[in-house]
Amino acid sequence: MSPGHYLALSTILFTIGAVGVLVRRNAIVVFMCVELMLNATNLAFVTFARMHGNLDGQIIAFFVMVVAAAEVVVGLAIIMTIFRTRRSSSVDDANLLKY
């Protein structure tokens, strides 16, 4: 399999994640779509590592995973805090900063 196949798969998954971020309203699902996009870029990094024959791409993918884990922790805590005050996890309901 050429790296192009893997990169195409990564592109498709990234686009699906972006569509999910655009169309979904539930903040948790939006967050899961962001995770899907991060995973898609990880696949691209791993493919690049294989393409170039060194492990730097895998290291970057590893760092992406670490940062994603930290981001999930903080993001879910924020979603829970918003849910506590507004009793809703919909992204449409948090509109205090509008206008």
Binding site: M1, S2, L13, G17, R50, V72
Partner: protein, 324 residues
């Protein structure tokens, strides 16, 4: 996109690290992951989305393993599927698992424009990918010669050691941030057991514990109300959810063909007769209660032949003992 696929098909012959069976697993995992990703954004229930995301992540882990990244494959399974996704599910349970997205568009034409934008983005990335001189893949045989983990560790602790140290600061900050965000300051002092007891008596509703279901009743099922010492059924003993249900008859094939109300009436009359008998005999109160559970057990097989099985005979024996 198709032009690029043709181009990559042309280079496929000269891939350095050809593995047998790779095309089959690649296409299998690609189809599974894309289908699961599409399912993730199109299912309405958030839990289903999370499970679909788990499928995508596991497929990606398998793809990492195929691509010579066994360490990342395991990290993907353990950290992403194991920890991150479970965190998602925990928060989903806290926030409310029944929350489904509404299908009403709050911004007009949002979905249409999202689809158009996605197609444009896909075309853009596909064109970039198709025009890139990807060449053949060098393969990781040399880099993984002393093991993937050792190779990664050599890089991580030499070239990327500063980023690695920065990661520790990031993780500590994230842990602290989660604690600060999830922590709720108590604005009122915590009520002690004494305060709770006082408020319970002040409200005057029901100071003691509620009666348990099935007390002094023939049926020990949780949906049969308890009988109070004077023989009246107590609604308080039932869970309000159970009391609100109306399909009692279907739930009780053991009620000798009757409804729950008839069964309660039978229990009430049984308790009353035994109480009266005991009062006549002037027996002590403990014997009253034991024969109170036993006496209708003798009646039951007469009214319904199939019903008086284990409990009926057992209580009949106890009644005999109490009689002696």
């Amino acid at each position: 996109m198709s032009a690029h696929l043709l181009a990559s098909g042309a280079v496929a012959a000269q891939v350095a690290d050809k593995q047998s069976g790779e095309p089959f697993f690649f296409w299998l995992l690609a189809i599974v992951s894309v289908a699961a990703a599409l399912g993730m954004i199109f299912t309405r229930k958030a839990v289903h989305s999370a499970l679909m995301l788990a499928a995508v992540m596991l497929s990606l882990a398998a793809l990492y393993a195929i691509e010579g990244a066994p360490f990342l494959a395991f990290v993907q399974v353990i950290v992403y599927t194991g920890a991150v996704l479970m965190l998602f599910l925990f928060v989903m349970m806290l926030v409310g698992v029944s929350s489904t997205d509404s299908l009403v568009e709050t911004i007009r034409g949002q979905r249409l424009w999202a689809a158009i934008g996605a197609l444009g983005f896909l075309a853009l990335l596909g064109a970039g990918l198709g025009n890139a001189a990807l060449g053949d893949s060098a393969g990781l045989q040399a880099a993984n010669s002393e093991g993937n983990v050792i190779g990664l560790a050599r890089l991580l602790f030499s070239k990327y050691v500063f980023a690695f140290e920065a990661t520790s600061a990031l993780l500590i900050t994230a842990a602290l941030g989660a604690m600060v965000l999830a922590h709720r300051e108590r604005t009122t002092p915590k009520p002690t057991q004494r305060d709770l007891s006082t408020s319970r008596f002040k409200s005057g509703a029901h100071p003691g514990p509620l009666p348990g279901p099935g007390t002094y009743a023939l049926h020990n099922s949780v949906d049969m109300p308890a009988l109070l010492p004077d023989g009246t059924p107590s609604e308080l003993s039932l869970n309000p959810v159970i009391a609100a249900r109306t399909d009692t008859i279907e739930r009780h094939p053991d009620l000798y063909g009757g409804t729950a109300e008839e069964a309660v009436d039978r229990d009430v009359s049984a308790v009353k007769t035994t109480t009266d008998e005991a009062e006549d005999a002037g027996a002590e109160s403990r014997a009253v209660f034991r024969s109170g559970t036993g006496a209708p057990g003798g009646d039951a097989p007469a009214s319904g032949p199939g019903a008086g099985s284990g409990p009926g005979s057992g209580s009949g024996e106890r009644e005999g003992e109490a009689g002696k």
